[in-house]
């Protein structure tokens, strides 16, 4: 039998029907919905007189618009001050109530960012197809699932038919072998990959992450990596199933139990690329070459090691790229050749579907323990990714560490990653952010985002500017 990639296997097992024109009808096992990209889909469904095909496959939660202060959240829906945001969250509630869709509402202790609660509850499992009207759905690929974002028309399509009309993507492998140095985290790995292949480097491909580094990585770390596959242009990122995957899934609320569990594990063991499987493209990085990363520009590919300098556009030979660098430096208020470490920061955001799982909280707390946020930093906040992450962090006393260090400890939500709620940057402010996009205005009008790992964000909070967390932990803050 011809060797298959992980993506080939996931695709093949979900083909309902292949069509003459090269497209296929693909079955969707799990549909996650949130308040921003679903209202128009429900409206479309109603206008056409249709009903959801399989209501019990859908999981909903509000995350983008929810406020994150304790006071606001204590009031539930009434705590949403912005009337437009309130309507959107209320619309999700109404739609879920009308159709009988399971929803973790705003004050449910299980509420959280969609991409965090999917794996955490076991709603998303290895071997599944998972979609959500949100490009960071690729996070679930860490489970050995085919997971990707869709637009609202496709949300409606999946609601109505449990299927998508798709064309098979190409296969791409990013292999990272070797051992990561201390202080180098999954976030640094994915930023380094994006820096190497570019923000369109994996367009048209399903992206598998392979090699020692991912085999030795925790599930939380794999989720951080797969989460940002889209920032390299890939709709779907994925990692093969191994013991780490299976131990992560075991016992979760919606994970299979008893005999089903044994059958499921037996089938999941096959969720890896076969030896000799053909990839259309392979990119290789050495773990030892990867250093803690900081983005300096307005695209995730505009990133470099913390010890480097802001690039000089004059050195760029490609005219379009040169233009892009000039524009980015102007927006970011940076000079060519300026050391990354000289960039002063105004705010710190530790959170988002990229880096708001328990390991991220621990990594930040480890750096912050016994230290204080610099006086020059206006605000530093930690926003856990879900109610479960929050509870776990509090059980471990991490919230105390954050509060004692002068950070705010918030309620779960997307928060300042995209600033749809009240958490946002002011114009011109620099932010050390553990989120995924440094686009212009992303975290607030005129705001300047620098993408970093949780440990690097914590170190920057203390120093007031970027520092190499490796020197920092050794006790020599720059």
């Amino acid at each position: 039998m011809q060797p298959k990639t992980l993506y080939d296997k996931l695709w093949d097992s979900h083909v309902v029907q292949e069509r003459d024109d090269g497209s296929a009808l693909i079955y969707i096992d799990r549909h996650i919905i949130h308040e921003v990209t679903s209202p128009q889909a429900f409206e479309g469904l109603r206008l056409a007189g249709r009903k959801p095909w399989r209501v019990d496959s859908i999981l909903a939660t509000p995350d983008h618009n929810v406020p994150t202060t304790e006071d606001e959240r204590a009031s539930g829906l009434e705590g949403i001050a912005d009337p437009v945001s309130l309507i959107q969250v209320k619309t999700l509630d109404d739609n879920c109530d009308e159709y009988g869709i399971v929803e973790f509402k705003i004050n449910d202790p299980r509420q959280g960012i969609v991409h965090i609660i999917g794996p955490e509850t076991g709603a998303c499992l290895p071997g599944m197809t998972v979609v959500c009207g949100d490009s960071h759905t690729a996070t679930n690929g860490a489970l050995g699932a085919l997971a990707h974002g869709i637009g609202t028309s496709e949300v409606e399509h999946v609601l109505a038919t449990q299927c998508l009309v798709s064309k098979k993507m190409k296969n791409m492998l990013v292999e990272v072998n070797g051992t990561l140095g201390p202080g180098v985290t999954p976030k640094d790995v994915i930023l380094a990959i994006i820096g190497k292949i570019g923000t369109d480097g994996a367009n048209g491909h399903a992206l598998e992450f392979g090699g020692d580094v991912f085999r030795n990585m925790s599930m939380e770390g794999r989720m951080t990596v797969c989460n940002m596959a889209i920032e390299a242009g890939a709709r779907a990122g994925m990692v093969a199933v191994d013991d780490t995957t299976i131990e992560y899934v075991r016992g979760r609320t919606y994970a299979p139990k008893g005999e089903d569990w044994e059958r499921a594990v037996a089938s999941w063991r096959n969720l890896h690329s076969d030896p000799g499987a053909k990839f259309d493209r392979v990119v290789t990085l050495r773990a030892e070459d990867i250093e803690p990363q900081v983005s300096w520009g307005t695209s995730p590919e505009m990133v470099g090691p913390v010890g480097s300098t802001v690039p000089d556009p004059a050195a760029e030979t490609d005219a379009n790229k040169r233009e892009g660098i000039v524009r980015a430096l102007e927006y970011m208020g940076l000079e060519p050749g300026q050391p990354i470490k000289s960039i002063k920061i105004d705010r710190v955001f530790i959170g988002s579907c990229t880096n708001a799982r328990i390991e991220d909280m621990r990594a930040a707390a480890q750096v912050l323990k016994g230290r204080r946020v610099a006086d020059s930093v206006k605000q530093a906040m930690v926003v856990p990714g879900s109610g479960a992450v929050k509870a776990q962090a509090e059980a471990e006393g991490l919230d105390k560490i954050f509060l004692e260090a002068g950070l705010e400890w918030r309620e779960p939500g997307c928060s300042m990653c995209l600033a749809m709620n009240a958490d946002r940057l002011g114009a011109g402010e620099h932010c050390a952010s553990t989120s995924n996009r440094n686009f212009e205005g992303r975290q607030g009008y005129g705001g300047r985002t620098h993408l970093v790992s949780p440990a690097m964000a914590a170190a920057a909070a203390v120093a007031g500017h970027f520092v190499d967390v490796r020197e920092f932990v050794a006790g020599e803050p720059a």
Partner: protein
């Protein structure tokens, strides 16, 4: 779904690579629960000099005189000429909704981000991929000629310049067919209900846990 067959229209530039969907339609406008009305906020942060708010009347807002879509020569444009990886980032369909609402029927670039590309077809917008060199040629011609128009023919898969130069483009058959006919793809899929049910029955035997109902 809206169809696209042939279109001739004024061409406007968005002369930068990696235009992301946050730039096409910033997040504050995503709070709307409607599909329409996004056109006035298309490229909001580039187009205006102040920060836009949802449901705001934009007629009195200060326009950015440096932004090309604000120039009089590009008013009424329906074809957007841009650079590689247009539409990267978020999957928000509000991006094609905003382009459509503004009046764009066709986008031309060397490449598009995957999710955005797919979303265009659901909204009757044709994204045309031409080579870097061809796009550069079109940019030069457009800048040199005020009132520059292109004729786009989906059935023939061609873009024709005012002086008769013809560029051909590739497109998937299934997407082409749906767009030409303006087909309701949900209706088409539902015609295959029996195949979906047969798949579910087979799959339920192989992997019953995939059909466990999520419970509150």
């Amino acid at each position: 779904m809206k169809s696209f067959t042939q279109h001739t229209g004024l061409v406007a530039p968005m002369d930068r690579a990696n235009v992301d969907t946050d730039m096409i339609i910033p997040k504050q406008f995503l709070k709307s629960i409607k599909r329409t009305g996004f056109g006035k906020n298309l490229f909001d942060e580039l187009r205006y000099l102040d920060e836009g708010q949802p449901d705001q009347d934009c007629t009195g807002r200060p326009l950015n005189p440096d932004f090309e879509l604000n120039h009089s020569r590009y008013q009424g444009a329906s074809i957007l000429l841009t650079r590689s990886n247009f539409g990267c980032g978020s999957s928000r369909e509000h991006a094609p909704w905003a382009l459509d609402d503004y009046g764009f029927r066709c986008l031309i670039a060397p490449s598009f981000a995957d999710i955005f590309y797919n979303n265009c077809f659901k909204n009757g917008i044709l994204p045309v991929v031409l080579s870097e060199e061809e796009v550069e040629t079109l940019f030069q011609q457009m800048y040199a000629n005020e009132g520059y128009q292109l004729a786009v023919d989906l059935a023939a898969q061609t873009v024709t310049t005012p002086d008769g130069q013809v560029f051909t483009f590739e497109i998937d058959n299934f997407r082409k067919h749906c767009l030409l006919e303006g087909l309701d793809d949900i209706g088409l899929t539902l015609e295959q209900s029996d195949a979906i049910k047969a798949y579910e029955a087979r799959r339920r035997e192989e992997a019953p846990w995939l059909f466990d109902a999520l419970t509150p």
